[in-house]
């Protein structure tokens, strides 16, 4: 007889605990591999401060993240591009409205092999290179070597920004090599004296040399004051205005003294 109230007590305690767990929530984040290191870094710190919250993060690309958000299989979709109108339409059809939060800036830098003497290219020059019209570095004042143009796969967010800003929506010529990630571009450029590629500033390594664009060096400062031309905001999307745990996490991410402090650690440009 004595044991029954105890059991009830434990049971109700457990239920309470389970309930708070649901409220505090497990947050699922999915999407862009560019935003992944930011989300990982901030989530790690957030979970340390809120041990009852579990955040699971996976990559898969901006498109897949937004896809998962629309399906309802993730709470937050990371995206390195703004949502497309087709995706908004699909989301609205399924009864959700995606809300964007800018969480950081990315700055895309053209890179060449360290032995390349060129320091600066104009946006117009970059465009002619990527249109395949410049075949030799001599034409730009460099060594007498062929130009090997390296681009990203056409569906990556990095390509999209490059295509929009550097190429002004003109096509990268078919002879451009394709690499499927920032890391692969660094790898390919660092092993080829003729190569030119472009990467997010977070992936900058000493094995490749960053070029100035229109005499402006890609950096945190030039990104935030808007002078560096090839930069973009990075987003987290939620389905509708976030609630409870997700709201708390998003607020943490965009807070200047909390989440934003760690954006730079991940190699990106913080909002403030």
């Amino acid at each position: 007889m004595k044991s029954r109230p105890t059991v009830m007590f434990v049971l109700s305690l457990y239920l309470c605990f389970a309930a708070t767990n649901v409220w505090a929530g497990n947050i699922a984040i999915k999407g862009s591999t560019t935003v992944l290191p930011i989300a990982q870094k901030i989530a790690e710190i957030y979970m340390k401060q809120n041990p009852d919250v579990k955040i699971s993060i996976s990559g898969g690309g901006s498109g897949n993240g937004i896809k998962a958000l629309i399906d309802g299989s993730t709470d937050i979709a990371n995206s390195s591009r703004f949502i497309k109108s087709k995706e908004v339409k699909l989301a609205v059809e399924k009864g959700t409205y995606p809300v964007p939060f800018a969480v950081a800036y990315d700055c895309i830098v053209p890179v060449v092999h360290p032995s390349n003497p060129i320091e600066n290219l104009t946006l117009a020059q970059l465009r002619t290179i990527y249109k395949g019209e410049i075949k030799n570095w001599k034409q730009l004042g460099g060594h007498d070597r062929p130009v090997v143009v390296i681009s990203r796969d056409t569906s990556s967010g990095t390509y999209e920004v490059w295509h929009k800003i550097a190429m002004e929506n003109e096509r990268v010529f078919p002879g451009a090599l394709l690499q499927a990630s920032n890391g692969a571009i660094v790898q390919a450029v660092s092993t080829n004296k003729n190569a030119i590629g472009y990467i997010g500033i977070g992936y900058m390594e000493p094995s490749v040399k960053a070029l100035m664009v229109d005499q402006i060096k890609g950096s945190e400062e030039t990104t935030l004051n808007g002078t560096y031309p090839i930069s973009r905001p990075l987003y987290m999307f939620t389905a509708g205005w976030p609630e409870r745990g997700t709201l708390k996490f998003i607020n943490f991410v965009v807070h200047p003294q909390k989440g934003q402090r760690h954006v730079a650690d991940a190699g990106f440009v913080p909002l403030y």
Binding site: G63, P146, D153, T154, Y159, H163, P174, L177, T191, N194
Partner: protein, 303 residues
């Protein structure tokens, strides 16, 4: 009869049960494969509402994210075919000759050591071969041949050849080794040299097995994804030399699938590319099946 053998009914039931069990296992796995196939076609066919089949297969430009987009996979198809052809040119002679050596010339002890070693090569993960091609072979080709980039058709073919040699060698070796002894003895006793015996008797006798090996090796090369994604360069152009960068179909699908908008045109186009790729590999497998049936050797009588 039932009365004579009291356990007969039980045994019969068990037998039937086992029958049913194996049938359902086989049925399940075939159903799953069938459903994947249905899914592939369901996701791929819708692209042909926007692009005609001819424009899709023979279109020269692949700009899936532009507005308006171009969905022409001809450069990808050509890339797949040329990479497979070039890698076969390398892997078939090497694979078959290794098999002849192992089956005919090598001593028992060498054979026992070398054959497992060659088969072990097949266990190398493709990403490791791809990484090797990217980090070691590409810079080497660039420096030695003085070409603009080492990530090209030739490098990819070389790496794919490494991958298909174990398949070709191992299966052909089995075929060559299983040629009946009396054929060889008869040939030798008629005064033929060892080389003449290999060339005129043993190879023709094992041709069906060798052909199957070659085609299986080629279908491994055409379907391989990681290696071509890493070392083929990925340019969507029709190659004019073997040192041009190319993008075979699997590399195109792997590179773009992750970020293609769900159920968008691009997504459907990638699945349609998958259909074309599937048709290619199926053709290879059907050919292998046909050849192994048609030229099957039954003992020494049919030579």
């Amino acid at each position: 009869m039932k009365k004579k053998n009291p356990s007969g009914k039980g045994r019969l039931r068990r037998e039937r049960g086992i029958h049913l069990f194996f049938f359902s296992v086989a049925f399940a796995s075939i159903t799953v494969l069938g459903l994947i196939l249905v899914f592939l076609f369901m996701e791929g066919i819708p692209i042909f509402k926007d692009v005609s089949f001819k424009d899709f297969l023979f279109g020269k430009y692949w700009y899936p994210t532009d507005d308006p987009p171009d969905f022409g996979i001809f450069p990808l198809v050509i890339a797949s075919i040329s990479v497979t052809a070039l890698s076969s040119l390398i892997s078939i002679p090497l694979g078959v000759m290794t098999a002849v050596y192992l089956a005919e010339c090598a001593s028992y002890r060498v054979r026992e050591w070398v054959k497992p070693a060659v088969e072990l090569l097949a266990a190398l993960p493709s990403v490791v071969i791809g990484f090797f091609g990217m980090v070691v072979v590409a810079p080497f080709l660039q420096d030695v041949l003085d070409i603009p980039t080492g990530l090209n058709l030739f490098n990819a073919s070389l790496m794919l050849a490494f991958m298909s040699i174990p398949t070709i060698c191992s299966i052909s070796e089995d075929a060559i080794f299983s040629v009946p002894k009396e054929l060889k003895e008869a040939s030798m006793s008629l005064g033929a040299t060892h080389w003449e015996t290999i060339w005129r008797v043993i190879l023709p006798a094992s041709i069906s097995g060798v052909c199957t090996a070659v085609i299986l090796g080629m279908s491994r090369a055409i379907g391989e994804t990681m290696v071509v994604l890493m070392v083929a360069g990925g340019a969507t152009m029709i190659p004019t030399s073997i040192f041009d960068p190319v993008r075979p179909m699997p590399a195109g699908i792997a590179a773009e699938m992750a970020e293609a908008p769900f159920r968008g045109d691009h997504y459907h186009a990638l699945f349609a590319t998958g259909i074309i790729l599937f048709l290619f590999t199926m053709l290879f497998n059907l050919a292998a099946d046909y050849i192994s049936n048609k030229y099957r050797q039954v003992g020494s009588a049919t030579l």
